[in-house]
């Protein structure tokens, strides 16, 4: 049984279709990259998986005991966050909120989990710093640590490297690769960076109103879609 399965999924806003015929599944330990042009429905798909957005038709099934609130999510940054007065510690801890239920405060285990995840991402020394004063790469690590507090199984990343400098970008890719290969966390990532997608992912989903391709990376490289796309956007660097 797969971790996540999409069946005949049709997505859109206010009755207007954005993507249709979505049929794919993600197994535990996979690293799936969703690529495609702007407006091809990548973020809509991610929001639907997170139940932030209802599909027009079709369904998403979760398997292997994955609960809906056990999906870690790294959203694109919003305007609100850019000048938000919050310490790194407060933000990472807020990832544990799904374990609290009606309990109003965090317990020791949750504080430990936040600490552990900050160590894992090398941001322990930033714990008391203000989020808005961090660099883009550091901010993404903070949000990634928060996402890890919410999940041990599945991470959804929406263009995690957007706006980062090349060094921070490489660091973040490396970090995500480690989470996938050493900790066994399943990763679904939206990316514009086709070269990195081909380099790190195990599977590729290429969207353009319909799924143009879904399958293993090795097959994608030799497929028509992959060849064409990589000619335009550059292949392995």
């Amino acid at each position: 049984m797969a971790l996540l399965t999409c069946r005949d999924l049709v997505l859109g806003y206010e009755g207007k279709k954005v993507v249709e015929e979505l049929n794919f599944s993600v197994n535990a330990g996979d690293y799936l990259c969703i690529v495609g042009e702007n407006g091809s429905g990548k973020t809509t798909l991610m929001k639907t998986i997170l139940k932030l957005h209802a599909p027009i038709s079709g369904r998403i099934e979760t398997g292997e005991g994955l609960k809906q609130n056990e999906i870690g999510y790294l959203p694109q940054q919003t305007m609100v966050q850019k000048d938000f007065p919050a310490s790194v510690n407060e933000i990472v801890l807020s990832g544990c909120l799904n374990r609290c239920g009606f309990r109003p405060f965090y317990n020791r285990e949750e504080k430990q989990a936040a600490k552990k995840n900050m160590e894992r991402l090398g941001i322990t020394d930033l714990a008391g710093r203000c989020y808005r004063e961090l660099s883009g790469g550091q901010q993404q690590r903070v949000l990634l640590a928060r996402a890890l507090c919410a999940t041990g199984k599945l991470l959804l990343l929406d263009e995690p490297v957007a706006g980062l400098d090349p060094k921070a970008m490489a660091d973040l890719y490396h970090l995500i690769e480690n989470l996938n290969s050493f900790d066994g966390i399943t990763v679904i990532m939206i990316s514009h960076d086709i070269a990195a997608a081909v380099k790190y992912a195990s599977h590729i989903l290429h969207l353009s109103f319909k799924p143009l391709f879904f399958g293993r990376k090795s097959d994608y490289i030799h497929s028509e879609t992959g060849k064409l796309f990589r000619e335009v956007y550059g292949g392995e660097r």
């Binding site: 870690g72 959203p75 919050a86 310490s87 933000i91 807020s94 909120l97 965090y106």
Partner: protein, 288 residues
């Protein structure tokens, strides 16, 4: 008059007022509680880009007060609170789904209810001096000094409720304010918390109308939060600072208005503005 004489004169005058007049004590209690409550929620509203909601809702409350006055209700809270709460829910809760964007809908509702209220008061006048009535509702010039014991208890009860809700849901309010998408995705019912914030802010606004009048309420909501955000860098520190600052400014403003005989609401707001100036300076110095 030397400094020492002046200080003792001020002190005597204040202690005179406090011992002789119950309404001064009532006003102090209510003023401090209202400032505290509005500053707590203010941080969330400012960060969610809803600063103007206080203003919009207070105009709605003005319209509701006009309706209550015209109907000759003995306790106008019965009409004012429900109407304001419903408008708050419409403004906040429906959020991004609406066709009319947030700021436009707030502007729309606020001017509509302001003119509606003024029209009602003029068409069905209940007293001979309409402009004094209107002025009082808008700037809260004397209503804080005419509080009855029941109103004070109502205010104390509501404030305790607001503070309790805030403390119990502190972490959830933080999560919903910082990143609603993430909070919802990980199983937090954000829409419910938005609804709760909307209801609480509406209640605070109705209570605060007694203190500063409907035109000046947003000052109580946003100034302490903005001042605290100049200097402090964690959510908790901002909340605590904003609460302390709000209490301090409102107490100081009321004391000044007693001694100098100035309008209560306007004096509090001016003190808040001055505090904002000081905090901005401190923030600048800290940065360099």
């Amino acid at each position: 008059m030397g400094v020492i004489e002046w200080v003792s004169w001020v002190f005597n005058k204040l202690s005179d007022y406090f011992t002789k007049f119950q309404f001064v004590r009532y006003a102090m209690i209510v003023g401090i509680l209202i400032a505290l409550c509005s500053s707590l929620l203010g941080v969330t509203l400012v960060l969610k880009r809803f600063s103007y909601i206080g203003d919009g809702l207070s105009h709605v409350a003005f319209g509701a007060v006009a309706i209550a006055t015209v109907c000759n209700l003995s306790n106008n809270m019965l009409i004012v609170i429900p109407i304001t709460v419903i408008s708050a829910i419409l403004l906040l809760y429906t959020g991004s789904r609406r066709k009319i964007k947030g700021d436009a809908s707030i502007a729309m509702i606020s001017v509509a209810s302001l003119s509606f209220g003024y029209l009602l008061m003029n068409v069905f006048p209940t007293s001979t001096n309409i402009s004094a009535d209107v002025c009082m509702t808008l700037f809260g010039s004397t209503s804080i000094l005419t509080l009855t014991a029941t109103e004070v208890w109502l205010c104390v009860g509501m404030s305790v409720l607001v503070i309790a809700v805030f403390v119990l849901f502190y972490h959830k309010i933080f999560a919903v304010t910082f990143d609603e998408g993430f909070a919802t995705a990980t199983g937090l019912r954000s829409s419910m918390y938005n609804l709760m914030i909307a209801v609480v802010i509406a209640i605070i606004i109705v209570l605060a109308m007694n203190l500063v009048g409907s035109l000046l309420i947003s000052a109580l909501v946003i100034f302490p939060a903005l001042s605290a955000m100049r200097v402090f860098k964690s959510f908790k520190a901002v909340i605590i600072c904003s609460a302390v600052l709000a209490v301090f400014c409102s107490a100081l403003g009321m004391l000044i208005s007693i001694v100098a005989g100035t309008p209560v609401g306007a004096t509090i707001v001016v003190v808040d503005v001055a505090a904002f100036g000081v905090f901005s300076l401190v923030g600048l110095i800290k940065k360099n």
